[in-house]
């Protein structure tokens, strides 16, 4: 008895997680047309919550962790969510993959419960055996390495750059050339531009945490020099990464098929400049197969951009 209750608890939490994941995907993909499958899904889902609720309450499960909306979502929200859900089979397949990953030995009522609880998000008929689905595309197996992070921070007080240049060992200041102090620290090896307004730019770190630590060290140096510096509004402005796909790429072919995104001018620059729209990342693609990605504010954008471009580049290799 306890075991089945435990299983149901786990399934509930899995669905809970998949809800969040799927909601995000739904927002991205936008509402789609209603397919004919939804009316059939409607009825069982409307019946199921009641049976599900009785089943749940009968087992004395602690459902306080479940959000209140889960039960309510099935009825009023359903008609609006259904159009959004009758979408890419990819989403419903993902859901079924998540659900089947729970390793269900019993398929009858739990399956019905699961499918109905999940039905706002998956267009499935209940009582269908859920076979695990392999992901549609495999990952590339290559991880872009971060090469440079640019971040800014506000120190919150005006600074005397001449004083800083006199007192700090690692600073250079040439007001005729540039209106900021250039300061460097050894660990993490970075460079900072410190302006008289109290704003600072930190470059050269290889990870977000390194950049933050370096910025804090610079702020400390300025503090020790006697200014009332604080560490406000730390923000990563740009991330640059690079990787190698290990096969040559026909740039002339790529520019023909992806004209609206690519710009390839061998007279000016040997690489192809690919401006990806989503996520908004610029990729420099070279004939050697090396790819540079830049313009990201988050690490995930870089990974996403590379996963987007890899199948395109692979397609070019086979041709």
């Amino acid at each position: 008895m306890d075991e089945s209750a435990l299983e149901r608890y786990f399934d509930e939490s899995i669905i809970h997680d998949s809800n969040f994941v799927l909601e995000e995907e739904l927002e991205l993909q936008g509402p789609q047309r209603v397919l004919s499958s939804t009316p059939s899904a409607l009825r069982p889902s409307q019946l199921a919550p009641k049976s599900g609720a009785t089943g749940k309450s009968g087992d004395d499960l602690d459902l306080s962790f479940l959000p209140d909306e889960l039960g309510g979502q099935n009825e009023p929200g359903f008609s609006s969510t259904a159009p959004e859900l009758s979408q890419d089979s990819g989403v419903s397949l993902d859901c079924s993959a998540l659900v089947s990953a729970a390793d269900r030995p019993l398929q009858r009522t739990p399956a019905a419960e699961l499918s109905t609880a999940a039905s706002p998000f998956c267009v499935m008929t209940p009582m269908t055996p859920m076979t695990p689905m392999t992901p549609v595309t495999e990952g590339s197996g290559i991880v872009p390495q971060l090469q440079n992070i640019v971040s800014t921070v506000t120190l919150g007080c005006p600074l005397d750059l001449k004083f800083i240049a006199r007192q700090a060992r690692n600073a250079e200041y040439n007001p005729k050339r540039f209106a900021a102090v250039i300061m460097r620290i050894r660990e993490p090896r970075t460079t900072a531009l410190i302006f008289s307004s109290g704003k600072m730019v930190c470059t050269g770190a290889k990870s977000e945490e390194e950049s933050r630590l370096a910025a804090r060290k610079y702020a400390r140096v300025v503090q020790k020099l006697g200014f009332s510096a604080r560490f406000l509004e730390f923000k990563i402005q740009n991330m640059v990464a690079s990787c190698d796909v290990c096969f040559p790429i026909r740039l002339e072919g790529l520019v023909l098929t992806h004209q609206q995104f690519s710009s390839y001018e061998p007279e000016l620059f040997p690489g192809l400049i690919y401006r990806m729209v989503k996520p908004r990342i610029v990729l420099l693609i070279f004939v050697s197969g090396k790819v540079v990605l830049t313009g990201a504010k988050e690490r995930a954008e870089i990974y996403e951009a590379f996963e987007n471009i890899y199948p395109i580049l692979k397609g070019f290799r086979k041709q």
């Binding site: 060992r169 290889k206 950049s211 140096v221 096969f247």
Partner: protein
């Protein structure tokens, strides 16, 4: 900008510009002695064929087009009548003769093209003498005429040489090889139009490269050094890969959380001692005054 002006920048290939470029070279009968003269049409045709071959072997992608065109015209001119006089004439002299300004990188392109022609020329069965990249120019005509079959043979022999080096399971390679050779024979049968030649040859080269890589990649999946220079294992690879420069030593990755404690001693190491600061100020003054005096 393109969107604002609502135009579309035309993408062109080197072959389109070749004809106009070849016209610049003043090597027709009127301008130079008969032995060195060459008909512009024949010259253009051969130069275009050379550029197409170069494009397939990754010499063209990513490079400035002018040196490639110059190298192609030079080699075409040499190969159309490969007598001693022409072969001895260097690129510089040729450019002076043709009243064209020489470009520095054309020399590198010539070397690369000769290397590519040498790889193909090696497969010519009726050439009994020793072939080097230098005397391959005399064979260019034959190479261009039989380029498809020569390419096929070169790929085959390259694969055989790879097999000798690493005799791991090569079932995949043989199937890939037959597929590539069937494609090659299919294309060799057709009378190619100019653009289709490009596409076909690209396909062949692409497939050939891939079939070559799969056996070597399979047999050495883990060794990082080999994957780092996959260019050395393939018959034709972009020169930047084959001559890969050594990477500078990478920094070991720091594992930081960003919120660590920052030791005072570290920060103090970045700040001058009062004595140091005074010395520095004095030195600056001295420099400043001496500068003023001298200027």
């Amino acid at each position: 900008m393109i969107k604002v002006l609502n135009i579309q920048a035309p993408t062109f290939s080197v072959t389109d510009v070749m004809e106009a470029h070849c016209q610049e070279y003043k090597v027709s009968l009127g301008h130079v002695p008969e032995e060195l003269a060459e008909d512009s049409k024949g010259l253009t045709k051969r130069a275009i064929a050379l550029v197409e071959l170069a494009a397939d072997s990754w010499i063209v992608t990513g490079r400035q087009p002018l040196p490639i065109m110059m190298a192609a015209v030079y080699l075409a001119w040499q190969s159309l009548k490969p007598n001693a006089q022409r072969l001895k004439m260097s690129l510089e002299k040729f450019c002076k003769l043709a009243k064209v300004q020489k470009s520095k990188t054309a020399g590198t392109r010539i070397t690369e093209m000769k290397g590519m022609l040498y790889k193909l020329g090696k497969e010519i069965p009726w050439y009994k003498e020793v072939l080097t990249p230098d005397n391959v120019v005399s064979l260019v005509g034959d190479i261009l005429q039989h380029r498809f079959s020569l390419l096929r043979r070169a790929l085959k022999s390259h694969e055989l040489s790879l097999l000798e080096k690493c005799p791991a399971g090569q079932v995949n390679s043989s199937s890939a090889e037959t597929s590539s050779s069937s494609e090659v024979s299919e294309h060799a049968g057709q009378t190619p139009a100019k653009s289709s030649v490009n596409a076909e040859k690209q396909k062949q080269a692409g497939v050939g490269d891939e079939s070559l890589k799969s056996p070597s990649e399979e047999s050495n999946p883990q060794t990082q050094e080999l994957t780092q220079n996959w260019g050395k294992r393939v018959l034709f690879a972009p020169p930047c890969v084959v001559n890969a420069k050594r990477k500078r030593a990478e920094r070991p990755p720091l594992h930081v959380t960003g919120d660590e404690e920052i030791s005072d001693s570290e920060i103090e190491s970045y700040i001058r001692t009062p004595q140091e600061a005074r010395d520095f100020a004095m030195m600056q003054e001295k420099l400043f005054t001496s500068n003023n005096e001298s200027s």
